[in-house]
């Protein structure tokens, strides 16, 4: 395990789940819960004769950023593509549940709590969604995580980080969309059906998954930032994510309502307007939408240096 200071300078894209979990909170504050020594691993994989991991590919724990208690969930893409099964799902569910219970207890005991003293949940996604080996158990885990997000609503902000190799796809794409805020790097990818699956189902003509520029301008951080699916776009180091997370962590929970994608009649209205716009525009490429958002340089927007991009890009308003 690298030292905390070294993790800060590491590329978030290349950091494993545990380094991200440790590096996102203040130095020396991370305590892992249900860690590898507890050996909670998938019974289904064992039955199938597949290799297991003693943390089931998900690191969970608690730490602090300044005065804010931070409940951390961090997924590991190198274990079966970051897929979520029964045990990993339960670890996610119980981390959020713990945060909500902690919040209730804290508020009951301390009436003068400031916003920055209230807990947040951070999920560092790196997943393709359901672990197919575990079918229904994996699906159920997704539903239970969604349920916990509802319970955390208006109490504990849930903040998503996406900037790891696998990206965030499948059922976990839905989960990320249902959280309060999304921080991405330009290397992060967010979507429902993964590029390879689209190609397999609809053909190479429809979507060439080997064309990485196409993949990124359809699912990548820059595109998601323009579309409003991503709230904050950051550089690629662990420290960059940590800094953005720190800025959000101290905000009052009401502030997060403005960042959400779903969950109110107004937001439903907004989503419907987006659907109507798509039907009207019939875009052939993400660049058409960037141009529609008012970017005259849509054709070269994805190759602009990062800082210039963030400074000048126009985001889609509906």
């Amino acid at each position: 395990m690298p030292k905390w200071n070294d993790i800060q300078e590491q590329s978030f894209l290349e950091s494993d789940a545990r380094a991200r979990a440790v590096g996102l909170v203040d130095e020396g504050t991370f305590t892992e819960l249900a860690g590898p020594f507890d050996r909670f691993y998938s019974p289904h994989l064992e039955t199938l004769g597949e290799a297991v991991e003693f943390d089931d590919g998900i690191v969970t724990g608690v730490g602090k950023i300044g005065k804010t208690p931070v409940f951390v969930i961090s997924q590991e893409g190198r274990f079966i593509g970051g897929s979520v099964g029964e045990v990993g799902g339960a670890k996610m569910v119980n981390t959020i549940r713990l945060a909500v219970e902690f919040y209730d207890k804290l508020v009951a005991e301390h009436s003068d709590l400031t916003d920055e003293e209230k807990p947040v949940v951070v999920i560092s996604f790196e997943t393709g969604g359901v672990r197919l080996h575990e079918s229904n158990a994996g699906l159920l885990a997704h539903a239970e995580v969604m349920d916990q997000l509802q319970k955390a609503r208006h109490k504990v902000p849930v903040i998503t980080l996406i900037g790891s190799k696998v990206g965030c796809f499948g059922g976990m794409g839905f989960v990320a969309a249902a959280t309060d805020a999304i921080i991405m790097s330009e290397y992060g990818r967010l979507g429902l059906t993964g590029p390879e699956v689209i190609e397999q189902e609809m053909g190479k003509e429809e979507f060439d998954s080997s064309d990485r520029a196409l993949v990124f301008r359809t699912t990548g951080g820059r595109h998601k930032y323009i579309m409003g699916d991503c709230n904050v776009l950051v550089h690629g180091k662990v420290a960059d994510f940590r800094e953005a997370l720190g800025k959000l962590a101290g905000l009052p929970v009401s502030e997060f309502e403005k960042m959400r994608r779903i969950g109110s009649p107004e937001l439903v209205e907004k989503q419907l307007k987006l659907v109507a716009l798509a039907a009207e525009m019939q875009p052939k490429d993400a660049r058409d939408v960037w141009a529609k958002a008012g970017n005259a340089d849509a054709a070269t927007l994805d190759s602009k240096p990062f800082d210039e991009f963030v400074a000048s890009v126009k985001r889609l308003e509906v």
Partner: protein, 557 residues
């Protein structure tokens, strides 16, 4: 003068060409241009059954429009062609054999079509002449495999028919010279026809007809390796190579094969290489395509000169901006040339390093599998000792002097030896063991009726094997027994490796015939991605100051 009353004719080849070109004259306008829609008819006019025909196409640029047009000719008019060409990577190259337009193939590299080549040979659809190396095939263009008609490709033509092949000149000069100067016919497809060319690579009078193809020719960025995909294990191998071979022999002039290990080495010159104090002592002159992973080492001042076999998509501006390092024309753009670069790789390089799929217990290696006739392109040229070499360098002399048995063949005469290095993880892709009792090449020879198993590098040329277990210095082995023991010692947990005798391995380590990372002072714990000067394609763009423009498929932002 006639000796027996009948006039002997000495210009049958040019007369034949003139007759064919007369038949095609109605399609050809000013500037030797013809229309794309006349291409099939033109080919039917100039090609005859049984002709030797070359379609230009290496593993990079492809005369794809002319290849597709040849596939549309009337089979009753044109059939049984003898194709002589570098590579057959496009499906259409094999379709010609399916339809009977072509019958015989002499080539160097199969690429993605390697499976079909094996199948066609087995089914009798294709008669295989031989699998060559590039230089070997090019040499035969000038002796017994001279093409009658060559279908080539270039970026641009001018209104007279001069061609600009520019960055991707590759095989064109060789093909055209062999064809035209034996009075054959050269037909070119170009991406555009312009008033003035940046420079003339092929003069118009060596060309018979030019067509602007409906689409730009297909080109493959085959030599781009994404640093993001380099593993810690490859980094360990790269550390061993740099310390135990590059540094040990101070190898200045070399070729890198294509692969992630050599990319890792390239990316570790400015980091680990610098730490070892090797700047200026190694890698100053290279025969190499413009690998994007070379950018940091070039920018950091390691390299004095690079000559390129071909171009590499996205590297055009970077290369043009570094004319002190690359060979560029008066117009400022690279001129690659496969034949010259291969010759440099064979004769002027002190070392070849590359990977392979299999190495047998004697040290023969091959990338052939049981059902694919892949060929090896240029690796066997560069991965072989050049016996005609007479100039000396320190690295070459040292590698030769280390051979304990030189006196058995040369008496007291000193002689150098090229370093030929295979760097492999003991288990390769799909966890297949790299070290094997018998190469799959034997099965292929049987399946495809080849006269001998296709070997990429023969054991007597191979001087070093590098694996995660360490380095086998095969040039230091006194006999084949010691050689085989050294191979076993670095073969890890493969069947071959499990036969290693620890006592024997210990002796080999004492004799420095085998050296482990610990023997070499390489710290395994340091083998991680922080060793790489660039860890992503975007880092390479940054190193290049924005001059490198990666193809879409390599973008990850």
């Amino acid at each position: 003068m006639s000796t027996n009353g009948t006039e002997k004719k000495w210009d049958r080849r040019s007369a034949d060409t003139a007759e064919r070109m007369a038949a095609a004259a109605r399609f050809i306008g000013p500037g030797k241009q013809f229309k794309p829609e006349d291409t099939v008819a033109l080919l039917e006019a100039v090609i005859r059954p049984g002709d030797r025909v070359n379609i230009e196409g290496n593993n990079q640029k492809q005369a794809d429009f002319l290849a597709e047009s040849l596939n549309k000719v009337d089979k009753s008019k044109i059939h049984d062609l003898h194709m002589v060409q570098s590579a057959v990577p496009l499906p259409v190259h094999l379709d010609l054999f399916e339809s009977g337009i072509a019958k015989k193939l002499d080539f160097a590299f199969g690429g993605p079509q390697a499976g079909r080549v094996a199948e066609f040979i087995r089914d009798g659809k294709m008669e295989l002449g031989a699998i060559h190396t590039y230089l070997e095939l090019f040499s035969r263009y000038f002796l017994d495999l001279t093409p009658k008609v060559s279908l080539i490709c270039a970026y641009k033509a001018d209104k007279k028919g001069n061609l600009y092949t520019g960055f991707n000149t590759e095989d064109t000069p060789t093909i055209v010279e062999a064809t035209k100067f034996s009075q054959g016919i050269v037909i070119a497809q170009v991406n555009e026809i312009v008033d003035e060319l940046p420079r003339v690579d092929i003069p118009a009078d060596w060309i018979d007809a030019v067509v602007q193809s409906p689409k730009p020719f297909f080109i493959e960025p085959l030599f781009t390796r994404d640093p993001a995909l380099i593993t810690d294990s490859q980094i360990l191998l790269a550390m061993l190579c740099l310390k135990g071979i590059y540094g040990e022999y101070e190898v200045k002039r070399l070729n890198h094969g294509i692969g992630f290990l050599t990319s890792a080495i390239e990316l570790m010159l400015p980091t680990y290489g610098a730490e070892l104090g090797l700047k200026g002592k190694i890698c100053t002159h290279m025969a190499l395509n413009p690998h994007p992973t070379m950018i940091p080492a070039i920018e950091d001042g390691w390299v004095q000169q690079i000559h390129c076999f071909g171009g590499e998509l996205g590297m055009e501006k970077f290369v043009a901006a570094r004319p002190d390092v690359f060979f560029v024309g008066p117009d400022g753009s690279l001129r690659s040339n496969r034949a010259y670069s291969q010759a440099a790789g064979q004769y002027a390089c002190d070392m070849f390093i590359g990977g392979t799929l299999q190495i047998d217990k004697y040290g023969n290696s091959s990338t052939a599998t049981a059902n694919r006739v892949a060929g090896f392109g240029g690796a066997p040229n560069m991965g072989s000792d050049a016996h005609g070499r007479r100039h000396s360098t320190d690295a070459w002399l040292k590698c030769g002097a280390e051979q304990p048995t030189l006196d058995r063949t040369l008496g007291n005469m000193p002689r150098g030896k090229k370093l030929v290095v295979q760097g492999v993880e003991t288990f390769g892709e799909g966890r297949a063991p790299v070290f094997v009792e018998e190469l799959d090449a034997w099965k292929l020879a049987k399946n495809a009726n080849l006269p001998l198993p296709p070997v990429m590098i023969y054991a007597d040329d191979l001087t070093h094997i590098v694996t995660e277990e360490g380095i086998a210095y095969l040039n230091r082995a006194p006999d084949i027994e010691a050689r085989m023991a050294a191979i076993r010692a670095v073969a890890g947990y493969t069947e071959i490796g499990l036969k290693a005798d620890p006592a024997e391995t210990k002796r080999l380590r004492e004799q420095r015939i085998v050296m482990t990372p610990e023997d070499l002072g390489v710290d395994r714990k340091r083998a991680d991605r922080s060793m790489l000067a660039a860890r992503s394609i975007q880092d390479l763009v940054t190193w290049s100051g924005g001059l490198y423009n990666p193809p879409a498929r390599f973008r990850n932002w």
